[in-house]
Symmetry: C2
Subunit: 337 residues, 2 copies
Amino acid sequence: MSDPHLTLEQTHALAMRILTRHRIGEAQAQAIADTVTHAERDECKSHGLFRIPGYVKAAKSGKADGHAVPLIKDLAPGVIHIDSKRGFAPLALKTAYAPLIERTRQQGIAAAGITNTHHFAALWPEVETLAGHGLVAFAFTAALSYVAPAGGTKPLYGTNPMGFAWPRQGHSPLVFDQASSASARGEIQLHLRDGKPIPEGWALGPDGAPTTDPEMALKGAQLCFGGYKGAAIALMVELLAGALIGDLFSFESTAADNGDGGPPTGGEFLLCIDPAKTNGAGSNALAHAEKLFEAIMAQPGTRLPSDRRYEARKRTPEEGITVAPVLYEELQRLAAQ
Amino acid sequence: MSDPHLTLEQTHALAMRILTRHRIGEAQAQAIADTVTHAERDECKSHGLFRIPGYVKAAKSGKADGHAVPLIKDLAPGVIHIDSKRGFAPLALKTAYAPLIERTRQQGIAAAGITNTHHFAALWPEVETLAGHGLVAFAFTAALSYVAPAGGTKPLYGTNPMGFAWPRQGHSPLVFDQASSASARGEIQLHLRDGKPIPEGWALGPDGAPTTDPEMALKGAQLCFGGYKGAAIALMVELLAGALIGDLFSFESTAADNGDGGPPTGGEFLLCIDPAKTNGAGSNALAHAEKLFEAIMAQPGTRLPSDRRYEARKRTPEEGITVAPVLYEELQRLAAQ
């Protein structure tokens, strides 16, 4: 028997049905269902329907408020602040877009700090959305402590992703979205499930020594990608998504978390630049950038960071998606409750 | 016989004497001599007096203009542009600081694009200077093509450093400044000189295969740190220091260079944020950040990225610096011409 199959419309409807039955209001649920459906559309399974049970857990435990209405505040001509009021990140992001885009076009550069939020998705949706409006966009968020600092052996940083998007004329934006850790935590869990050793360089055991044993890795500390340089990026992400905007560091989020399995509380930092306002030569930044992309693609073996997602996006609106049977059962149970 | 020894004052005077004797005017020479002396002070030898012959070469060949006066232009409330007019970067940076700091305090966030310049130093001087004024600072610059894109085998990107600084109360700023390449080009050259193989992961040979032979590495392509994630950072740096501000990509700088051995033409992008304008909780971002630094330092084996430079900085004002004999001879020759 083949895996359960859904159209993107059915995916969205299933997400809505579950979320709204579990203490999440219409507005928050719509924003979450959009994010989850977009992840399935792009075949980013780990941020798709797989996340729905976690959203439900955080709402049911009362850690997150599924009925929260984000509050926008001006901090400076180029800086806005969105208090997510313990709601989930997707609605806070949706709230941030219009004023952030407007400020960026006015000022040439602008930033938004989103605090008091529960982020449980990738960062490419937000940077791609902003770049869809012709802006260069960055996003940073921290999370639960899993990753050792440079030279250290104990968890301190989150997996601390950063997202970046560059707008393209007549083409979807160039986007990357990458954790500062060498691997996603889920990849280590998959190795454990499959009884396979993890590659060297991913983690230290609880004794502080390098390990290829996924069980020891999960009890110990993950490592940053690229050694001390990746650790510097992780540190930067902590500062931007934490102290800079007035939210928690990963180790503080961990201390504050109730362990319900849903997304912890934390912050997200968005930064936007209008490439029509930064080009000192008065030339077209976007047209110029295409020459770089051509030079990259002229080398065999290369691809642009977001190409794989865009290829999936061509297929799934017609072909639909499949859901792992165990997850599908869990979703059906949640939908029926 | 021990290596030649100089005080920091003598270092600065020697740099000034050489630069002003070789077609570099007083203002440019002062800014370069400051930068070079600060590098020697912090024991960053590869950006110290070692760079003086390169500045001279670029001025003598006419590639750079040692008498250029940078021109500031407003592009938006949060964006300024500095046309370096073919001058060296240190004076353009000095010109950028005051207006960039002022804009950042007004707007909360601001950026400066420096174009048409010759950058031949590290990025920590500029981000540390800006953070010394209480601002969070980023700097990005591209350079000659030495580094392959993700999946590719031929040089395309520069070593593409990014610098980041976070201001600290009662302490020098936290600063990192790191190339997107796995190693500095100079490190490969040192391995060649010493007849030692380079570590795996640094480079590909001209045939596109991984190599540990430094000679093949220099003829082939360097690799980014941390695989495709470091390559994404390199790509971002190209876009920010190139198309965004209206300057060249690394491969275009390479094509435009006259091969005189001095710094090529290119751009630099500076971005500043005022942490007093971004904290949505109204709390003190800098005081909060100290808790993260304490948590890092509480783990044995850790240090903050800039600590080594700051330790050197305590010693060299009293102890002075030493200069490699071969370099010292070359500098004496240039000073006497």
